[in-house]
Subunit: 106 residues, 2 copies
């Protein structure tokens, strides 16, 4: 992952916290495809992701507004990936939708 | 890390995205201490953190409101850790303050 830069506030952050099941089972290829597909959507600003050895991970995607974040959730190919995530790749996850009011950088 | 549960919305998320410099240099012990100290603060809800092999990491702390998040930033021992972070542990970081409007779980 690389750090996403600052963006013009306000903007939206979708915080996806997850626990992976063991084994790849097609996950990595779809995760890469979803990151690429997200980056093509209207209102996409950026994405950050990290996962530790225990399988716990955080992915935060940034969007111009809530409508853009919601539209991405409803993209058909993304909906299929979400269904596979629920069924196969994640033993647990929490999604939080947040509005960023300010940011700063080192 | 473990997943933070859902909390009663609205609440505040502080998203800290960082790139570590090489080597520990006292980092891990202070990071553990800061997680413990944060958990004792008024308005603390939870924390999630993951870092991948490349040194890129995400830490999200959750707070009842902006005043609680800001008060934690100003705790003296935390301020010293932040200074060490700027000087020694992080080659780059971005901090984003966001209000979570809703969340859902698998």
């Amino acid at each position: 992952m690389t750090l996403a830069p600052r963006f013009e506030a306000p903007y939206v952050a979708v915080i996806f916290s997850s626990l992976r099941t063991p084994g790849d089972r097609g996950y990595e290829a779809v995760a890469r495809r979803m990151a690429d597909l997200a980056s093509e959507q209207p209102g996409y600003l950026g994405i950050e992701s990290a996962r530790d050895e225990s399988g716990c991970g955080l992915t935060v995607s940034y969007w111009a507004d809530e409508a853009a974040a919601r539209a991405w959730k409803d993209v058909a190919e993304h909906e299929r990936a979400q269904a596979a995530g629920r069924a196969t790749w994640y033993s647990d996850y929490v999604v939080r939708i947040a509005q960023v009011s300010r940011d700063y950088r080192k």
